[in-house]
Structure formats: structure tokens, C-alpha cells
């Protein structure tokens, strides 16, 4: 329990990092970044084996951010973990910065250069297949957006992983319920999303508390015991989690006055924590 209290502190620190990064860029994907912070902290601090001092360590677990627009969260956690100095946050979106507008491999710790959706899961499948070929034990984790599941390629990859029984592959779908222009299921209905993954041959857990670290840890522990098939957690999350005025509006990209208001609110809340 004490350990998880400590993880909660790390989440607060990472949320503060996201705010600093957004402020530096004056624009950014607040919604999908803040919805996956708990997932990333769970992975980097509890589940996955990584080493910030050796980002290319051969035995590391690979974490692929398929929804690469949520790069602010990735940078926040990688910086907190020590993959690069947090002073770099100030350079977000600056010309030729190592912190680009979508996660790219120029940032230490980032494993895949994304942007166009639906491809990160294929890359994760390729890495999982490669690990099997090399008889390596490391795992591949891939974070998908819910709207990203509209992409046909996601399901090409889902079939592939199941066909080759890639049990070293874990997908976490960030079901924050909103894509750019509205409710994801009104834009194009995904339901029943867990049944879809199950029908593609994935061991699937629908996690109602997708922003709770303990719940996510339990899910990963359960899935670790499963062999012979790929694994999926549908994480029911809140877009812009932790910044109430952005949560209310389900903001996707924030800038201008709304950015300013959210930064102010968030810093006030974090101060109280």
C-alpha cells in the first residue's frame, strides 16, 4: 500500500510534468495524455523492465505508444524516470527539439515513431514476433487509443498476433470515450469493444477503473499467467483526467485561454496534493 502511495506521488509529479510540457508548447494533446498517465506509470514503475541509463538495453521490455499524439504523457514519464533531463520539457515543440509533436525515436526511451494511427500495434506485433524468433523473454506493451480502433489496420494486427499466439504482447486500449470531434461511439460505434478483442482471440479484461494504478497492476498480474494468446486491457479512463475544467469539455487539443485556465487549476490541485 505504501508503495502505491508512492506511485500516486509519481503520478502527481508526472501530471505536473504534462502541465509544464503543455505550457512550453503552448498547445498540445492534453486529453489523451492525461487519460493514460496511470497506464504509463504502472508500466514504467511496476510492470515493465526498462533502464533509463541504458534505453537500448537488449533485454528491456518494449513500450510502444501507438497513440503517439499522447506524447506529452510519454515525455512526462520518461523525464520523471530519468531517460532524459526534465529541463528538456521546456523545448517541447521548439524547432529541432527532441520532444516532437508526436512521439518519435529521437527521444530517449521512445521505441516507435508514430503519428498516423493504427501502425504502432503492427510494429508491436513485429517486435513480439522478433522476440520469439530470437528466443528472448522480454515483453511488448502497446498503448492504443479508442478512436484508433476505428482504423482497419488495428484489426489486421489483432488477427496477426492471435494467429501467431504472441503471448509476449500486451495491448492497453485507452477507452477515454472521446476522439477529436466527440463521443467515440457516436462518431463510429466501437461497442462491444471487449467482445471484439475477445473474438479476435485475445485474452481481454475490461477494466472499469482504468485510471487506478492498483486495478491496472492486478490486471497485468492476471494476464501474465496466460500463455498461448495475446492479451488486452480495455482501460475505461477519463479524458484529461485530473484537470476538471478540461475533463468537463472532453478537450482533445488544448491551447490559448483554455490552456491557461487548465494550467492554473491543475497547479492549484497539485499543490493541495
Amino acid at each position: 500500500m505504501e508503495e502505491n502511495l508512492s506511485l500516486e506521488n509519481i503520478i502527481s509529479a508526472c501530471r505536473a510534468n504534462v502541465i509544464d510540457i503543455l505550457e512550453a508548447g503552448a498547445i498540445g494533446h492534453s486529453g489523451g495524455s492525461l487519460s493514460i498517465l496511470e497506464t504509463l506509470v504502472t508500466l514504467y514503475y511496476e510492470i515493465a523492465r526498462t533502464d533509463p541509463k541504458q534505453p537500448k538495453w537488449d533485454e528491456r521490455d518494449r513500450i510502444i505508444l501507438s497513440k503517439a499524439h499522447a506524447c506529452e504523457a510519454m515525455y512526462a514519464v520518461l523525464g520523471e524516470k530519468g531517460f532524459f533531463p526534465k529541463e528538456k520539457f521546456k523545448e517541447f515543440l521548439h524547432f529541432d527539439s527532441m520532444l516532437q509533436g508526436h512521439a518519435e525515436i529521437c527521444t530517449p526511451g521512445v521505441e516507435y515513431s508514430g503519428g498516423s494511427l493504427g501502425q504502432g500495434i503492427s510494429f508491436a506485433c513485429g517486435l513480439a514476433y522478433s522476440a520469439k524468433l530470437k528466443k528472448k523473454k522480454y515483453k511488448i506493451f502497446c498503448i492504443l487509443g479508442d478512436g484508433e480502433c476505428h482504423e482497419g489496420q488495428v484489426w489486421e494486427a489483432a488477427m496477426f498476433a492471435s494467429h501467431y499466439k504472441l503471448d509476449n504482447l500486451y495491448v492497453i486500449v485507452d477507452y477515454n470515450h472521446y476522439c477529436t470531434l466527440g463521443d467515440v461511439d457516436e462518431i463510429m460505434n466501437l461497442k462491444p469493444l471487449d467482445e471484439k478483442w475477445k473474438s479476435f482471440g485475445w485474452e481481454t479484461i475490461y477494466e472499469n477503473n482504468g485510471n487506478k494504478i492498483d486495478s491496472l497492476i492486478n490486471d497485468f498480474r492476471k494476464l501474465e499467467k496466460i500463455s498461448g494468446k495475446p492479451k488486452c486491457i480495455i482501460a475505461n479512463t477519463i479524458k484529461n483526467h485530473g484537470v476538471p475544467i478540461w475533463e468537463k469539455e472532453h478537450i482533445h487539443i488544448v491551447s490559448g485561454e483554455k490552456l491557461f485556465d487548465g494550467i492554473k487549476e491543475s497547479r492549484k490541485l497539485l499543490k493541495n496534493v
Binding site: 503492427s122 510494429f123 514476433y129 522478433s130 489486421e156
Partner: protein, 308 residues
């Protein structure tokens, strides 16, 4: 296509070379989408785990190959040339951006084939050339297809080889050494730059003693062997570019662009901006019908020499 000359598929050259390489190099993997021929059979029978079948999911195949490449394998992908357009965003983001050395090849490039407008692709060089980090090649016959496969296997860059889908005339007596610029005839009046099937067609153009013409195959479309091309046209003072490709975005446009800074008269002998229809291999005078036969080559040389 032609009577009484030796024809052989470039596709076979690709297959033969890939099998020879894969027998010796366990890093070579073959990513297929319900596609492939002899080489697929070889992998299936001899190295099943290195045959990565994605089903008819080309977009997935391109990114799977990128990941394998990022992890130290040497992935090869062979598919219809036109399907590289279907994979284009995947090739761009997942292969080209980070310069992962995936070796791609596209067949049924050109006007031949019973697939019709959807399958006979004459725009592949145009869209593949636009990708930063990619090296682009075109095979002129069975033997050069082998050469190019061997070349890309050790290149350590993302690459695309253009090959015809049908049996085509043999140009070389055996497998040549790789060269980005390959001259067969040395002339003084004009240079014919060509690639692919148009190498044979250009060599068949009979100028008698009227014109002394260089015939140069450019198997490396990108990066263009600029220095050699400029040296060549300085000598002859005129050029035509012949290709079984759209006049938009292929070698002709690339050389025209280069020569705009080093001006000599240039004429294109290319396909028009069209979708080519179904063409069976038995069809006669196909290149004539499309305006890229040896007759048009001779006409273009005559016209361009006058402008010197």
C-alpha cells in the same frame, strides 16, 4: 510479346537471388501477404519461422517488416507494385522516417498484365521516389533483378526494386556487377537513358550510320547517378529518356529536372498520364500502341539532335 528471342521473368531472378541469400543469412526474413512464389515455397520448406505471412493485409505487412528490421532482421517484401500505394502511409511513417532497411520490390510494374487498370502500375516510381531515405532501383532483365536483390541485401537502407510481371527479353549474358549507371553503347550524337524493359527496346533501335547514340541503363533511379549523367550529356549534347512508366514522376522527370540546371535538349519517351488496360503477353506491338517502341525512340533521337 516478341517472337524468337529469349524471355525470362525478372520475378524469377528476384526469387533465385533471394533464396541464395536466405540460405546463407539467417537474418533474412520474408514478409508476405498471401503473395510470393518459389521463394515463399523455399522459406516454407526450409525456414518456416522466417516466413512471416500476414494474410491479405499489406498495410500490416509493411509495419511488421519495419519492426523486424528495427530489431536486426533483414526483411524482404515482394508484392504488386500498385499495392505499395496501398501501403504508402505505412512505408512512409514506419519504414522511411526512421530509415529501417526493409527491402521492398514491386512486380507488374508497367503496362503488361491481365489485371487491368487496377493492377498494371505505371506510377510506382513517382510515389516511391518521393520518400526520403528510400533507394529506388529498376531491373532490366532476369539477371539484373538478381544483381539488385543482392545489392539491396547489403545496402542497409530502405529500398524498392521495380520489376515487370511478365517474361521479358534477356539483356545480359550473366549476372552483372551492380552499377547505378550502365552504358552499353557509346555514341557522340545523343544519349538514350532508360531502365527496365526499355533497355532492350532502346538497344534494338536501329540508327544505321545516321546517328551515333549512347545507350545507358539507369538501374539506380534514386539517388540518381548525377555526375555520370551530366558527364555523359556533356559529350553527346542531347538526351532522350525512355521508360515504361508514366511521364509524371519517373526517371524522365528526374533527369529532366537534373538537366534543367545543366541544359541540353531532352525528350521523354514515356507513357501518357493514363491507367493502362489489360494486356496479354501474346499481344503484339504493345509498346507501339503506347508510344514507347523503338520507332518512337528513333523519332525522339532525331528530333532532339536537331535541337542541339
Amino acid at each position: 510479346m516478341y517472337d524468337n528471342i529469349e524471355l525470362k521473368k525478372m520475378r524469377q531472378g528476384y526469387s533465385d537471388a533471394l533464396i541464395e541469400l536466405a540460405e546463407r543469412d539467417e537474418k533474412i526474413v520474408y514478409v508476405t501477404s498471401d503473395s510470393g512464389g518459389h521463394e515463399r515455397k523455399w522459406f516454407l520448406e526450409n525456414a518456416k519461422e522466417r516466413l512471416i505471412e500476414t494474410g491479405i493485409a499489406e498495410a500490416n505487412s509493411a509495419v511488421i517488416a519495419a519492426a523486424l528490421s528495427s530489431d536486426g532482421f533483414k526483411p524482404f517484401i515482394l508484392n504488386f507494385a500498385y499495392l505499395h500505394a496501398r501501403m504508402y502511409n505505412q512505408i512512409s511513417q514506419s519504414i522511411a522516417e526512421d530509415s529501417y532497411p526493409v527491402s521492398m520490390a514491386g512486380y507488374y510494374a508497367g503496362v503488361w498484365g491481365t489485371g487491368g487498370r487496377s493492377h498494371n502500375c505505371i506510377t510506382d516510381l513517382s510515389f516511391m521516389r518521393s520518400l526520403p531515405n528510400f533507394h529506388i532501383f529498376a531491373a532490366s532483365d532476369y539477371w539484373e533483378a538478381k544483381t539488385l536483390v543482392r545489392h539491396v541485401a547489403q545496402l542497409n537502407k530502405p529500398s524498392y526494386i521495380r520489376i515487370s510481371g511478365v517474361a521479358t527479353p534477356i539483356v545480359h549474358k550473366s549476372e552483372p556487377e551492380f552499377a547505378p549507371f550502365r552504358k552499353y553503347k557509346d555514341g557522340t550524337d545523343c544519349t538514350i537513358f532508360c531502365h527496365g524493359t526499355m533497355v532492350h527496346e532502346s538497344l534494338q533501335a536501329d540508327f544505321g550510320n545516321d546517328y551515333h547514340v549512347s545507350v545507358v541503363n539507369i538501374p539506380q533511379i534514386k539517388p540518381l547517378p548525377e555526375r555520370e549523367i551530366i558527364q555523359e550529356v556533356k559529350k553527346t549534347g542531347a538526351a532522350i529518356v525512355v521508360e515504361e512508366h508514366s511521364s509524371i514522376g519517373g526517371l524522365a522527370e528526374s533527369i529532366s529536372s537534373l538537366l534543367s540546371e545543366n541544359p541540353v535538349p531532352v525528350k521523354k519517351v514515356c507513357l501518357k498520364d493514363i491507367f493502362p488496360v489489360t494486356v496479354k503477353i501474346e499481344e503484339k506491338d504493345v509498346y507501339k500502341k503506347y508510344g514507347i517502341s523503338r520507332n518512337e525512340i528513333i523519332g525522339a533521337v532525331k528530333s532532339v539532335v536537331k535541337k542541339r
